[in-house]
């Protein structure tokens, strides 16, 4: 991937210039929130489920070591092979080796952000294995050579006309913008791949510790085909995805589809708890789960930021975010975007690479309000901004300005002297021109400084009253 969150400012400018994408994103996001609200309001015990799910996940994170061991041994008892990957490179190698061992030259993939996180597709391509994304949206962005612009709806930024042109261009079919026909084109294209792939790769929405299963939630049946038709299935799962047992699953399945797509239930819930039954000839003969750390255990060590590991990747915070609605997902420069992306980017990529991400938020807190896990994203963004400052990755001038300002604000006389200037400076400007403040010189103006200020005016008012 040649994009980097270091260039967020540039991407934001580019995104704002693309009216077609902005309109598509804003409309899709707004529709998602409306249908999500309708579902959430229709469930009288929504808040109770939220509390329940939160307490379950909190417990899992606090005892993650134990749950992971339990998950591993139960998977093994079910005939699922478990691999541990410290980082992205280790996970890529594991998956690459499995592909080599089974002689796969092409793999079908169901949508998985975790595999995007580790750049698995590029790695596989470089090693002679062609990855085929089978989720419709993901398939479209793959054909375009892009990364997803939304956690749940990868092609959210594209119109059906865009999709028609991509299919015409890349799949050699006749142009159409009819959604049913477009879906049919994808179906025909992908069906051939499903039938010939030796290996399927999926992510996992949940890993169920007490029964050694993984759960994959989807709407298009492409995940079911990806994990059941090829002879080998590999699931790449972040270690934070565990839940204790089957009894916990329904609570999550209540919140996830409602928050993600405004559905009461997902069309398909796949629970994979073994390799194919011996002798039946059905299902994969090998199932592998790659448990990915890639910085998660470090995040777990931070008592506050740990909460970000509760994220189910439902994308509700993106849909409701006034910043995301303007710029879409690509402006964030990485595979996680929106409010939660702003919090994840510096945690996974470090304070240097991710220095701008936590700033890409007006801290309006709409994300926290909608998050099914009630993750306090704005609070984490504030802490991450502080981490950037502590790592001395904020700009030199900003640092100096802030230090000077803070020095003044703790000393009333100095403060009065410093704040006296802009008002006087403004008086030198011709006409009723506003102070030339950065960010306010385009289509809006900053307020005018008052010549006297409140303290003086208040004293004058008091004198008059006396």
């Amino acid at each position: 991937m040649d994009k980097t969150p270091k260039k967020i400012k540039k991407y934001v400018r580019q995104a704002l210039a693309d009216m077609a994408v902005r309109t598509a994103v804003a409309n899709a996001a707004e529709t998602s929130v409306t249908s999500r609200d309708k579902i959430a309001e229709g469930i009288p015990y929504w808040e109770l489920v939220r509390q329940k799910v939160r307490s379950i996940k909190k417990d899992v994170l606090e005892h993650l070591d134990e749950y992971l061991i339990e998950f591993e041994s139960n998977c093994q008892a079910n005939g699922i092979e478990v691999h541990w990957a410290r980082d992205g490179a280790a996970a890529r190698e594991i998956v690459g080796k499995i592909a080599r061992d089974c002689g796969a030259s092409m793999v079908v993939k169901s949508k998985s952000l975790t595999t995007e996180e580790i750049g698995l597709n590029d790695y596989l391509s470089e090693n002679g294995v062609e990855p085929i994304e089978t989720d419709l949206g993901e398939c479209i962005v793959q054909l375009l050579g892009q990364i997803p612009s939304h956690l749940v709806a990868p092609a959210l930024h594209l119109s059906r006309q865009d999709i028609g042109r991509v299919f015409e261009d890349k799949l050699g079919v006749e142009y159409t913008e009819d959604p049913a026909e477009l879906t049919e084109i994808a179906r025909v294209h992908l069906r051939r791949k499903f039938l010939s792939a030796r290996m399927g790769i999926s992510g996992a929405n949940f890993g169920i510790a007490s029964s050694g299963c993984i759960c994959v939630v989807e709407n298009e049946c492409n995940a079911r085909l990806s994990v059941s038709l090829p002879k080998v299935h590999v699931a790449v799962m972040g270690i934070e995805k565990l839940i204790p047992d089957m009894a916990a699953l329904p609570y999550f399945l209540k919140l996830l589809p409602a928050s993600a797509t405004g559905q009461k239930a997902s069309s398909y819930v796949n629970i994979i708890g073994s390799s194919g039954r011996a002798g039946s000839g059905e299902g994969p003969s090998e199932v592998h789960v790659v448990l990915l750390d890639n910085g998660r255990s470090r995040i777990l060590g931070d008592a506050q930021l740990r909460e970000t590991l509760m994220c189910m990747r439902c994308g509700a915070c993106l849909n409701v975010c006034p910043v995301y609605r303007q710029i879409g997902g690509h402006a964030y420069g990485w595979v996680y975007m929106g409010p939660i992306g702003s919090a994840l980017i510096p945690q996974y990529l470090g304070e240097d690479e991710g220095r701008y991400a936590p700033s890409l938020s007006s801290l309006c807190c709409a994300c926290r309000e909608i998050c099914p896990m009630e993750i306090n994203i704005p609070r984490h963004l504030l802490k991450l901004r502080n981490n950037v400052v502590r790592a001395k990755k904020s700009g030199f001038f900003e640092r100096m300005a802030m230090k000077l300002w803070a020095f003044a604000a703790a000393r009333p006389l100095v403060y009065r002297f410093v704040t006296w200037f802009p008002g006087k400076f403004q008086m030198l400007l011709p006409g009723k021109r506003a102070f030339p403040a950065p960010g306010y010189m385009g289509r809006r103006a900053i307020g005018r400084f008052d010549s006297k200020g409140f303290a003086k005016r208040f004293r004058r008012m008091e004198r008059k009253n006396d």
Binding site: V12, S362, L363, N386, A410, T419, P438, R443, R444, D450
Partner: protein, 241 residues
């Protein structure tokens, strides 16, 4: 009842009239005013930009300055939230932690103070205009204050109060955010202003000078009709104070 007032930076330097209006309205409601001299800023701009250690002295000074006051009232949800919610995130001297806890229970944003603490019923003002209300983010979502300003507005006689679409959508100000991502922030306020104009209101009422400056700055520069008004100014005007 006596209330110490805290005047945020934007009110002090750009919109002092809103501060004076707050004083007049509080007095009209029978509340005595205590103005603490030597107040500066709550520290929010630097805190939001990530500079925590730098603002500890500012916070500690604030805590000491307002120690022992019955109530502290500010015409801003944002600054009130800074003290009540975010001072706890700072490395405050242990000797001042109890004072901070105490302060958190006594500092109020103007609208919540009027309705929840002073329990002011109708003030009896009159304002025969169509208005809408913008929920500022910190006031609505950090402090949970949504109903109180609406009550204060609706209680005014002859006022035509209409809700705009997405009244609690961020106006794009966000302090330093509006400077760091100026163009993005402008697009956000443009969307906000679209909803304000669509509501047909003559005035958009707000409870935070930051949002109002941003919204007003866009409306004026684009020659859009609605005016902006701080809720303290609206009440003062309706009461002819």
């Amino acid at each position: 009842m006596k209330a110490a007032i805290f005047i945020p930076c934007l009110t002090e330097h750009m919109y002092p009239d809103s501060g004076l209006s707050m004083v007049k309205v509080l007095r009209h409601a029978g509340i005595e005013i205590d103005y603490v001299h030597g107040q500066t800023c709550c520290g929010q701009p630097a805190f939001n930009a990530g500079y925590r250690d730098e603002i500890v002295p500012i916070a500690e000074r604030f805590i000491k300055l307002f120690r022992g006051k019955d109530y502290v009232v500010a015409p801003s949800g944002s600054c009130t939230a800074m003290v009540r919610v975010f001072y706890r995130e700072l490395d405050i001297a242990p000797a001042l932690r109890d004072d901070l806890d105490d302060l958190c229970g006594r500092i109020f944003e103007f609208c919540e103070f009027m309705v929840d603490v002073a329990k002011v019923d109708s003030l009896g003002g009159r304002f025969p205009h169509k208005v809408t209300y913008h929920d500022s983010c910190h006031l609505a979502r950090e402090l949970g204050v949504r109903a109180q300003p609406r009550k204060l507005i609706s209680d005014i006689e002859d006022i035509d109060f209409v809700e705009m679409k997405d009244s609690d959508a961020c106006c794009g100000f966000g302090g330093m955010f509006s400077a760091k991502f100026g163009q993005l922030s402008t697009e956000m306020v443009a969307r906000k202003c679209e909803n304000i104009v669509d509501s047909g209101a003559e005035y958009v009422i707000g409870a935070d000078a930051g949002c109002l400056m941003n919204i007003g700055g866009y409306l004026r520069k684009n020659n859009l009709a609605p005016g902006t008004m701080h809720i303290t100014d609206l009440l003062a005007k309706s009461l002819d104070l």
